[in-house]
Symmetry: C2
Subunit: 332 residues, 2 copies
């Protein structure tokens, strides 16, 4: 069986661990979001790809869900002593090694997909991990002005603060506390899917969306020309990242607000829409969503199923992945 999964970071990585456990014999291809990628200190950092790679490869910091286990922070302290900026993005020494090697290989002219393959030779994640694109795509956030206006020309604050920031600056430095007026996938319109991406979608028996951020993870991947259409042509089951009106993890609500989507399982399903997804997994406490969607003729094509959706441990996560896969297989 061939399964292709669109993946953000922590939520996707954990879901994938469950999926690998649920169907060890399946050929799983993971298409990772690279819109969160950032160059810091001259080094290329791919947080989502690394989170998937480290998690499936057994090198993740389990408590925080990202970064390396057994990490030290010598470099960070040194860079601070040099007065180098930024100081708001935490990178451990072990993690730095990945970025150093990746940057070296990229500088030698290899595309990110080939570099990711080299890195995965060490981690043996048990899936084929592809970046969504070898071309640069950066998620940018247009900050809402002092009055919280959304849309229109971004105003400059009185302090002259920049109004367009890299996603990581908004997410990590600002904790997404300043509302986003707009979130854009800069460069996506000119990006091409990485080698193997469209083939992996086309050849898949089913496509799954883990409970990743619908805007800056799944949404960014779908923004690469060709990917949305390829996905839409397949049977897709998606797992809601929203439980009981809140994101399970992270600040997806701040991203959804920027695109005018409510933070609810029903609203996210409607955002994806029946033209894209076929099945929608929600938590038991969101069973009402089933009725809401059932009543909306525009969403009538989405089959909704409810089950406990917190990925508390590997057995629970495996059950969720199994349910997503079963739903997709049923709907084929």
């Amino acid at each position: 069986m061939r399964i292709t999964v669109l993946a953000g970071g922590v939520g996707a990585a954990r879901f994938l661990r469950g999926l690998r456990q649920a169907v060890p014999e399946a050929e799983i291809t993971v298409i990772g979001n690279t819109g969160d990628d950032i160059t810091l200190f001259g080094l290329r950092i791919c947080p989502d790809l690394d989170t998937v790679m480290y998690t499936l490869g057994g090198g993740i910091n389990e408590d925080q869900g990202w970064g390396r286990d057994g990490e030290t922070f010598g470099i960070r302290a040194e860079l601070a002593a040099y007065g180098a900026s930024p100081d708001w993005f935490t990178l451990g020494d072990r993690d730095f090694a990945t970025h150093i090697l990746r940057s070296q290989l990229l500088a030698e002219g290899r595309p990110l997909s080939a570099v990711t393959e080299v890195l995965c030779r060490r981690w043996r994640p048990g899936v084929r991990l592809l970046p969504m694109s070898d071309d640069p795509v950066e998620t940018h956030v247009v900050l809402a002005g002092p009055g919280g206006d959304r849309g229109g020309r971004p105003p400059r604050s009185q302090q002259g603060e920049r109004r367009v920031v890299h996603f990581q600056e908004w997410w990590v430095r600002m904790h997404a506390e300043t509302p986003a007026a707009q979130i854009t996938a800069s460069g996506a319109d000119r990006a091409r899917p990485a080698p193997g991406v469209l083939d992996a979608i086309g050849a898949a028996d089913v496509v799954l969306f883990p409970p990743s951020n619908p805007v800056v993870s799944i949404g960014t991947i779908l923004a690469v020309p060709g990917i949305r259409a390829a996905v839409a042509a397949k049977t897709v089951a998606a797992v809601s990242p929203i439980i009981g009106g809140s994101p399970v993890r992270g600040m997806a609500d701040a991203c959804l607000a920027a695109i005018g989507v409510d933070t609810s399982a029903a609203a996210v399903a409607a955002h994806y829409g029946p033209g894209l997804i076929d099945g929608w997994l929600v938590d038991d406490q969101d069973k009402a969503t089933v009725d809401i969607l059932g009543d909306d003729p525009a969403l009538a094509g989405i089959e909704v199923r409810a089950l406990p959706l917190y990925m508390r441990d590997l057995p629970a996560t495996t059950a969720i992945a199994r349910a997503a896969l079963d739903l997709a297989l049923e709907l084929r």
Copy 2:
């Protein structure tokens, strides 16, 4: 008083610590060798500049004489786990931070001299540290063939081993055990002295050579067009790196052999010659050198002085630096 010092690594750094102590009021400019510089893992590493910077800035590993104090080696272990090469050049995590920042600044288009200035803002070495050149110069070693031949076209070994290696590969990986047929400063003929270098030599009251390697440290600096002539025009006192027929540190004998110079204080003085140096400091046990040089009419211009020359501790090193300076001042 203005003093300009040509510097290699450990020996120069320790000498400079003594010189700074001996004449705290002096304006000291250090012209550092960059022929040992190497790019590893895409990062630019300047061992000699860093050794001077860390030593004078209080960040050196005192026991080994190079590298950072309180070092950890997380990155090294990670790169090994990735199978990245080379594995023979030890870089600690703290040290990596310097190379990361340097490489970032170089990639932004700043010349090495400007980058070194930025790094020195943190370390406050108490001297002005200039690379000999902003242009790439790499010390290459032509390995002697199986028969130990020197000169001529470098043969290939039967195993297809490379016969021309970067200095660091010969020095660190091979421990200089394979004889060198030739040592070249690749690129030196096209290199220009870094901004400030010729001015610092021209404006100096005296120029000092610490007990650095005469071939791959001092020799490489002098190979940058314009520097030798500028130095020769000044009063120069040099400290012998050879005591009792052996290098005080390192494998200078292997370098001297490659250029056909004996490993003796007298031979090194003759190698520099009276056209370049005016004063020569030797260890008490090499007092015979005084007579040898005194007897050789070709070297009659070099004033030789003997004193205890092991830099055992800061007081001893300060006395040596003071003696070198006094000798130069006398000979002006």
